[in-house]
Amino acid sequence: MRDREKVKVITPFPLTDEQKDILYSKLSRIIRGPFLLEEEIDPSLIGGVVILWGEILIDCSVKTQLERLKERILREGIPHVHGR
């Protein structure tokens, strides 16, 4: 019997069942066969999720998004927001 793949999921607060379902559903599209979610809590992420699967890192955390936005603002300046 094949061992189940382990996928580490880091979130700022514990996952709800609905969130786990979403994770299984989305990750099944790229992971062939059964896999196991290893949950880890990191409040510094603020929101979103970080997924570690083998050598693959999927960073969907609000913290990283904010850092990217900050780097972009420092590099290019504050983007102009045009009113509709």
Binding site: L23, I30, I51, V62, L66
Partner: protein
């Protein structure tokens, strides 16, 4: 009938003899001496005139030399003045250039400092904004919002990963 006295004849003869003797022994040496003196005096006069002419010539030469020296002096003075003016202009231009260089250097430094300050200010503003946003998000990210974030962001990431894996398999 005219009677001529013998004594008168003697007197005339005596007189003529006296005149001859005077002419012969007195007048001629005296005239000669006077001529010689006159010639000597004339010679002296001519010598004096000659010296006077020489002195006049020397005076004119000296005056000409003085005039030339004055002209030369004025020319040198004028040249020195022109040189001084040129040096003055060069110094002023050099000073202007130096001042302009210093001004540009200070402007460049000021600009760099302003840019550095603006960058630091921008970084401070961004850091503060980031902190504020983080705090606001921590308060406003509810389980529902977290679910939506996971769903939307994960969908995007998984779709991208799927495309990458597909292209790897195809390759």
């Amino acid at each position: 009938m005219i009677r001529i006295d013998r004594s008168i004849i003697f007197q005339i003869i005596n007189f003529l003899a006296l005149v001859f003797l005077l002419l012969r022994f007195l007048f001629k040496p005296v005239v000669k001496a006077l001529d010689e003196r006159s010639n000597r005096i004339r010679g002296e006069f001519e010598k004096i005139e000659e010296e006077k002419r020489a002195l006049e010539e020397e005076r004119r030469r000296l005056e000409e030399e003085l005039k030339n020296l004055k002209e030369k002096y004025l020319e040198m003075l004028d040249q020195a003045s022109r040189e001084a003016q040129k040096i003055k202009e060069t110094i002023i231009q050099e000073a202007y250039r130096e001042a302009e260089k210093i001004k540009r250097e200070y402007e460049r430094r000021a600009k760099r400092e302003i840019e550095q300050l603006l960058l630091e200010l921008k970084e401070d503003i961004v850091d503060i904004s980031e902190e504020v946003v983080k705090r606001l998000l921590k308060v406003h990210i509810t389980p529902e919002v977290q679910t939506r974030i996971i769903e939307e962001m994960l969908e995007e990431a998984v779709s991208r990963l799927e495309a990458q894996l597909r292209s790897t398999h195809e390759g």
